[in-house]
């Protein structure tokens, strides 16, 4: 055992200084949601909507192509078929938002709610947060990335965020998966067991909108309609840095980047 202590010490610091200071986010080369530039769309072109497996891209009445990032599973099919470059691959992944509408591409981005400072949250939590994760029917991809948060590289503890085994100790219920018929009851019960005030985060596109399995006979369509959602983070899966940004957004320690379907830093 002393050997392991020595080994651990000799490995030095593995943790990134990000996001407290400049540093490696660990997502070099990782593709995120596609970027849309509707001015490049050709009249009547519907190539992207035909292959989109979750109808994140859709045709709007009398308008061009609409994009809902809350449904995007980052499959990149649209960026491959787009003939004009209106949809391009990007490395954008900081998509945490407080209002579901902010994930939908809007002609004019509204600026009101996203930047609103919710002083209440800061007052309640100070700078710390206890999270109860609940898998309501995921593919385990989200869990794989959530488990990574506690590895030495991201080391979530240093930011004052802790996963807790019991909903009784939790401030935030972090839900993954599309909420299957069999998990709807346990999800509600876990929420009921949490002390107030309590918050809910829908993490991953399945929890935001149902994702690839959404609908059908068993899968459900995400957390909305089952519990009140305070924070939406689409992604398939959201990478650990995206989860960290979203958690800090909830604590008002980082600004919301996404407004009206557009990223602005």
């Amino acid at each position: 055992m002393p050997l392991w202590t020595f080994f651990g010490l000799s490995r030095g610091r593995a943790t990134t200084p990000w996001p407290l200071r400049k540093g490696d986010q660990g997502q070099v080369g990782v593709l995120g949601m596609p970027r849309l530039d509707p001015t490049r769309c050709e009249e009547g072109c519907r190539e992207c909507t035909l292959g989109c497996p979750t109808q994140a891209l859709h045709t709007e009445e009398g308008a061009g192509v609409g994009l809902d990032y809350g449904r995007c599973v980052v499959c990149q099919l649209c960026t491959e078929v787009c003939p004009t470059g209106a949809l391009r691959p990007s490395t954008d992944w900081a998509f945490g938002v407080r209002r579901r509408e902010d994930l939908v591409w809007a002609e004019a981005a509204s600026s009101e709610s996203g930047r609103r400072l919710e002083a209440k949250i800061r007052r309640v939590f100070g700078r710390s947060l206890h999270v109860r994760h609940l898998d309501a029917g995921s593919c385990n991809g989200c869990e794989s990335e959530l488990q990574a948060l506690n590895n030495p590289f991201y080391n979530l503890h240093r930011l004052g965020v802790f996963f807790t085994p019991s909903p009784r100790f939790a401030d935030l219920l972090l839900v993954t998966g599309s909420v299957t018929y069999a998990m709807r009851g346990p999800l509600r019960e876990a929420y009921e067991a949490m002390p107030q005030p309590r918050w809910v985060m829908a993490s991953g596109t399945c929890a935001v909108s149902g994702g690839v399995p959404g609908g059908g006979y068993a899968a459900g369509r995400g957390v909305e309609g089952v519990l009140p959602v305070d924070l939406y983070l689409p992604g398939c899966p959201p990478n650990p840095a995206a989860v960290i940004e979203a958690l800090l957004l909830l604590l008002e320690r980082m600004p919301q980047c996404m407004q009206g379907g557009r990223l602005g830093r």
Binding site: W4, N151, F163, A218
Partner: protein, 510 residues
């Protein structure tokens, strides 16, 4: 095929397909055919049903007579929706038959455990959900109802229901322990809380897009699932895949094995409370995922496979440096694990799975290899580039948690060296070939995922859309085996034993 053409008229040969021999089997002869296959040293793999016409189910059985010999696909039309249960002679088929009862409405006479499995007690549906007449977007109605548990009686016997929401960041499932003090008398996992109907969500999709669905059946098996799916479609289309794409596919599959097994080692240390070992394992997993991200744009290696090859080419020239560096750290780490008595003490003799049990109940992957069964789809039914560069297959003895860890450590080493050799000799050329599917075609594809044998059976409708996709996932097999290693053990070892199996619930529940 000597086995089924041995003079007895149990089966009629049907059109053979790449890697699979297919037979029509008379429902009355199924039990005999199964006994014959087992007696000759063969093994059943899976069974599923589909509806070639609305309301007319057809049952398929997949068997294997041995390595490097074609798979056997039997088809049988159940008269009046009922067949003899083959679980009586091949226990591993028990869960497949219960699944067919739940999802396709078929009955199996003489089934040893005629209970619901995939759909929980209290589910009501207008029709079986996999019947094409069942409306695609209609949710089942569900009012939780009591379920039937094994009866365990005796003084001081207690029942501990744990889950479906369990401590830690883990997947949802309920574990029921009948116990006295520290001793577990009987263990009953209650799964399928996460059943999402993934097989049904393939239906109606275009085959060139549905690998996106396959990648999301089991997130940490994205490559293995997409690969088995693509190979099933390619078999149906009768197309060949460009050689560079075949090599890159296998390279991706080995990168997937690498990060999965590193995660496994870290998580195993978590259960034996070896804290620095846990941190190091998770850090190495993170390194592997970051290598994946830089190489492919996806930490889980998604968005690359497509029927016919790959969606884009990859630059593997810069891969060697990071893999060598990772390999050096992995070697230091695993050598230390192998010298840590406190860790090994908790693993040795824990969760022992005997060879016969592993075989009869259908264990697969590192779990069966740790129990001495020398089987690996990469070698025995080679696909992608594994015929040109065979993988090292590690086989253990003992069948305990220690053997399972050793097999995985050996597989990490084998994957690292396979990746380096493949990257060094990667053939040049295009990565995507043309293909066209005849309407009504079908195909079988397989891959050896980090957790074991994975099969996809794909059926097309007459418009060239997917009519039925069956997924046989390795965790479905291993979850069936796992309880046998928990009965009559103790609570202290449970978490270690579960971690040593390396199961996913998403893959099992689908």
């Amino acid at each position: 095929m000597a086995l089924l053409c041995s003079g007895r008229d149990t089966a009629r040969g049907w059109r053979a397909l790449n890697g699979t021999e297919r037979y029509d089997v008379d429902p009355a002869q199924l039990l005999d055919a199964c006994r014959e296959l087992l007696a000759a040293g063969g093994r059943m793999q899976m069974a599923y049903a589909w509806f070639p016409e609305p309301g007319v189910p057809e049952v398929r059985y997949l068997g294997e007579s041995g390595p490097r010999r074609p798979f056997l696909m039997w088809r049988s039309r159940p008269p009046a929706g009922s067949l003899a249960s083959l679980a009586q002679v091949s226990p591993l088929l028990g869960w497949y038959e219960r699944e067919m009862t739940d999802l396709c409405g078929l009955q199996f006479e003489g089934h040893p455990e005629p209970l619901p499995l995939v759909l929980h007690e209290g589910v009501e549906t207008s029709l079986p959900p996999l019947d094409p007449r069942y409306p695609a977007q209609e949710p089942v109605s569900f009012e939780p109802a009591a379920w039937q548990l094994p009866e365990v009686h005796g003084r001081d016997v207690q029942l501990l229901p744990f889950g479906p929401v369990r401590a830690d960041v883990v997947e949802s499932a309920q574990m029921l322990f009948f116990y006295i003090g520290e001793g577990i008398l009987h263990f009953h996992p209650r799964l399928f809380f996460k059943h999402r109907g993934m097989e049904r969500s393939f239906e109606g999709r275009a085959p060139e897009h549905a690998m996106v669905v396959a990648e999301r059946v089991s997130g940490v098996g994205s490559v293995a699932h997409a690969l088995a799916y693509c190979q099933a479609v390619e078999t149906a289309a009768g197309c060949t895949v460009p050689v560079r794409a075949r090599w890159l596919r296998a390279l991706l599959a080995e990168l997937e094995r690498l990060y999965n097994h590193l995660h496994y080692l870290g998580y195993l240390c978590h259960t034996t409370t070896l804290k620095v070992g846990e941190a190091e394992g998770k850090l190495l997993e993170e390194r592997a995922k970051q290598i994946n991200g830089r190489l492919t744009g996806s930490r889980l290696l998604r968005g690359l496979l497509v029927p016919g090859g790959l969606r884009r080419d990859l630059d593997t020239d810069t891969l060697d440096g990071p893999i060598v560096a990772l390999g050096r750290e992995v070697a230091r780490y695993t050598a230390r694990l192998e010298r840590t008595n406190s860790h090994l003490d908790r693993l040795m003799t824990t969760g022992a799975l005997g060879r016969e049990l592993a075989r009869d109940q259908g264990a697969t992957g590192p779990v069966e290899r740790a129990s001495g069964l020398d089987r690996d789809l990469r070698r025995d039914h080679a696909y992608a580039a594994y015929d040109e560069l065979p993988p090292g297959v590690a086989v253990g003895v003992g069948g305990d948690a220690y053997a399972r860890m050793q097999v995985r450590i050996a597989e990490i080493e084998a994957s690292l060296s396979w990746i380096r050799r493949a990257a060094a000799t990667m053939p040049a050329g295009i990565v995507r070939g043309p293909w066209r599917l005849p309407p009504g075609a079908e195909g079988l594809g397989w891959s050896e995922s980090p957790r074991g044998g994975l099969y996809y059976a794909v059926h097309l409708d007459d418009r060239g859309r997917l009519a039925r996709v069956k997924i046989k996932s390795p965790s479905f097999s291993n979850w069936r085996v796992f309880p046998f290693t928990v009965h009559d053990t103790n609570m202290m070892d449970y978490a270690i034993n579960e971690a040593s199996f390396g199961l996913t619930i998403a893959g099992c529940d689908r």
